[in-house]
Amino acid sequence: MNTQDVLAKMQELIGEQFAVDAEEITMETSFEEDLGADSVDLVELVMAMEEEFDIGEVEEDEVSELKTVGDCVNYLVNKMK
């Protein structure tokens, strides 16, 4: 999966979870600042990512590094290489 494909899937997941339009979500979108996400939201999103992309379990220290949509997309692209 390339970066664009992963971003498109992430826009879908985030749009559904945070009730926002998928088109509004960019690589720069910050979970905390733009989407008002709390720690439970982030864990929920990470669990959805694990399931959707079949990447096994994301470690806790890795979760804390995922601040923006771009962080998630890059993490997923690297993980699926």
Binding site: S39, V40, V43, E44, E60
Partner: protein
């Protein structure tokens, strides 16, 4: 009806939890109860009793208060909360009861059992005593910071709880505020009021407007809608005032022989009043918005509280409230520009 109980959660686990579960199993033989926890400790607490409608599922870990609430269920996959909620998710039970860590239970319920699709946040809705009988206070601490959409959803959830679980017809919904007029309050309240008013005009909820805490306690509404921050302050104030007044009344009656005699005369009335304020009477608080019934009993629960929490879980599971929430989720969406 199958009820799953976290045998290891709370200050008095597993002893009081098991005692309460056994009492519920004895008094309602049609119930099937699954106790989840360290099997040897749970069986020891059962003291050799082995009713046919009680089973034990082993879970070797316990989520402690010091564990990170958002991650505890991931760190402790074999904890009583994680195992119990996975059983609920798998359909091995109709409801889950726990007196364990509120934050961990809420996170685990949200992440494992999931919210009803479209519900933005699950909320805690204790039933509080009022001069009118009782009222649902939603939220009381699960969500310290809220948006208009959260409060609007809480209004519907609380209304469904009052009608389906408490049997109140056309429950009156009030928005907790610092004044009754629509112009009162902070931005959140000012923006929420018109959305609730519109829902009321459509006949979807019986919104009666803003309500001050003192009017709510006097029985001014059946559902008090609040963000978790102010709802928690209201709840704790009620608990504190109740305890303070109880102590003062007791002191008053113990002042002299005459007052002691007077105290004897009103003893049964006072006892009934005290019982109204007894949190063990109800047992726990439902997490509304989760896709299966989850009941949080308070951390200091004794056997009576757990027994009543089991009955409350049965009531919630039988009430059809979750199907009602699912059927009405479209009405709870806040359209852009509405607030």
């Amino acid at each position: 009806m199958k009820i799953i109980i976290d045998a290891m959660g709370g200050d008095n686990a597993p002893g009081e939890i098991v005692k309460g579960a056994l009492a519920a199993a004895a008094s309602r033989p049609e119930l099937e109860i699954t106790l989840v926890g360290r099997e040897a400790e749970v069986r020891a607490a059962m003291g050799g009793q082995a009713p046919t409608n009680v089973s034990v599922v082993n879970a070797t870990e316990v989520i402690e208060i010091c564990d990170d609430p958002a991650m505890a269920f991931k760190h402790k996959k074999d904890s009583s909360i994680t195992v119990g909620l996975n059983l609920l998710k798998a359909g091995e039970g109709d409801a889950f009861v726990s007196a364990g860590s509120t934050g961990a239970l809420l996170s685990a319920a949200t992440l494992l059992v999931k919210r009803v699709k479209g519900i933005r946040r699950a909320a805690m809705c204790p039933v509080i005593p009022t001069a009118g009988g009782q009222a649902v206070l939603i939220d009381c601490g699960a969500n310290a910071e809220c948006t208009v959409e959260y409060l609007v959803q809480f209004a519907y959830l609380g209304s469904f709880y009052a009608s389906h679980v408490l049997g109140i017809r056309n429950p009156r919904v009030g928005l907790l505020n610092i004044g009754a007029e629509p112009s009162k309050g902070d931005t959140l309240r000012l923006e929420t009021w018109p959305v609730l008013q519109a829902a009321g005009e459509r006949g979807e909820i019986n919104f009666i407007g803003n309500i001050e805490a003192k009017e709510a306690i006097k029985g001014g509404c059946d559902v008090i809608v609040a963000d978790g921050y102010s709802g928690n302050i209201m709840l704790k104030t009620i608990e504190g005032v109740g305890s303070y007044l109880g102590g003062e009344v007791k002191k008053l009656f113990l002042q002299s022989t005459k007052t002691k005699l007077a105290g004897l005369l009103v003893k049964s009335g006072l006892k009934a009043f005290k019982e109204q304020l007894n949190p063990d009477r109800i047992g726990g608080t439902a997490f509304l918005g989760i896709s299966r019934p989850v009941i949080k009993a308070h951390g200091a629960s004794g056997a009576q509280a757990i027994e009543n929490a089991v009955y409350q879980a049965v009531k919630v599971a039988e009430s059809g409230i979750i199907a009602e929430i699912e059927a009405n989720i479209g009405k709870m969406k806040v359209q852009e520009g509405e607030s």
